[in-house]
Amino acid sequence: MSATVPAPSAAAAAPRAAGEGRALALASAVFGMALVFAQDVVPAWTGFHTWQYAAALALATLAVAGYAWGARTGADGDFGTRVFVAAIGAVVVMCAGIASGLLGPDTETVVRAPGTVAPLPDVGAAGFFPVADPGALVRGDAHILIRRRDGSSLEVGPGERRFVGATALETTAQIAAYVEARDAAGRRLTITQPANSAFLSPVLLFPQRVTVAGRELPADAFATPALHRQIKAFYFSKDAAASTQHGLGGKEAVLLAVDDDAGRLEPGGIGFVTSGADAPIGGVRFHVAIGTYPALVVSAVPFPPALWLGGALVLAGLAYTLLVPRPRRSITAADA
């Protein structure tokens, strides 16, 4: 046998290797692009900003880019040459995902008192948290207004998601209670929250978690300076309220503990107030409306133009590969 004739096993191995490379590239492209598009579906997931996510995408990108490099030079025959554009598109999409995951800011939940403004430097905008009266809290339908530097604005409501550049904005409802306090003569009292970012706010947002009698409860604190009272507030959900022996009737409630300025508990200074009801506790008459108020969740997403470009290349490449007929080769004497 002549040495120039390839061994049958090697000749068969080449197309098999090309086929395996193609399958690996295809699987990697589908897997990688699914990961990237997932950022637009569940942008708040913190896993997008981990090294594991970046490594998985980098490996998928490598597999597709390696295949595309070989395909460009004909390593996978006619199919490889035709699918090259789609492979480049997939690489663009996955690179956008890597950039967003690594360079984009971590997901942040911006909590603000009603009527305040939060700067959003990563978005080039400011978030205007709406004024909320007790009715708005109970309905839980407040919208956050986003005003950009260029003067344009948009609203983010409950269950909505808005995209601003490479950022996704959505809201999450958090427990809130609007507190009114009156003295013995029925005169309304100023509510202050010295420990919170909004000093003059009658809306409690319960930012702390405190364990009371083996149960973890959202907690907050406020004061009525006119009467020199410091008040701690603990939120009881319907389930938590139902499990107490205080006749709350399974209604949401707030447990209030009223201290004087020196931190001594006032006589009769502990009691529950259910939503919409009045209760005298520690010499102050409280009225509480319990509901929800939105917090703004700011998440990085892949740069949209990169996704559009990559997606368009993938679609165009696949259309060319699958729909455009291959040119017929004429049979020549040499072929015969």
Partner: protein
């Protein structure tokens, strides 16, 4: 592994490493303080002044936006607040001195009923308009970190200065005089 693929692998790993380093470097400081709240009324300079329809001591409804075209000295106060009590005579003097030059002094009571605010206004002989902000909307919008809180609003409705704490009459004049000179 083919040489081109090795080159791609090295380039990609380098890219990821550089990007991760950049993220760690710029992300290490955490969010800026202003994003965590606080900062006080001073940070509002240059911002449009928010206005809310609010009950007045005289029984009507009023809001800051009604005074567009005037220089407005907004003062957030409450009757239980000792520095507010101490500052109020100076505010009344400022109003009497500069009302003719176009200055409006607007006192906005925070969270109290009309009886408490009215008794205070009567005791202090206040002649400038008083709003009863029972929901404390102005206090939140103007990032008050205590009482009294004052804001100087120009004729275009923008905040020029936000001041936390008690001011003397001289400090009040110093804050509004340049605007009144421009205004007149």
């Amino acid at each position: 592994m083919p040489r081109q693929t090795s080159g791609l692998l090295v380039a990609l790993i380098a890219l990821v490493a550089i990007a991760y380093t950049v993220k760690l470097y710029f992300g290490a400081g955490g969010p800026p303080a202003s994003r965590l709240g606080g900062g006080g009324p001073a940070m509002l300079a240059g911002a449009p002044a928010q206005s809310y329809p609010t009950r007045t001591l005289r029984g009507g409804t009023d809001g800051l936006d009604r005074y567009r075209g005037h220089v407005v000295f907004v003062n957030l106060w409450a009757s239980w607040c000792a520095p507010c009590r101490s500052e109020t005579p100076a505010l009344e003097s400022l109003y009497r001195d500069d009302a003719a030059r176009g200055l409006v002094v607007l006192g906005i009571d925070q969270g109290e009923s009309a009886e408490a605010a009215g008794a205070f206004a009567k005791e202090m002989h206040l002649s400038y308009p008083i709003l009863l902000d029972e929901d404390q909307q102005y206090g939140r919008a103007y990032a008050a970190v205590g009482l009294p809180t004052s804001l100087i609003v120009d004729a275009t409705g923008h905040i020029v200065r936000g001041i936390d704490g008690e001011m003397s009459l001289a400090q009040m004049h110093e804050a509004v005089d340049p605007l009144l000179r421009t205004h007149s």
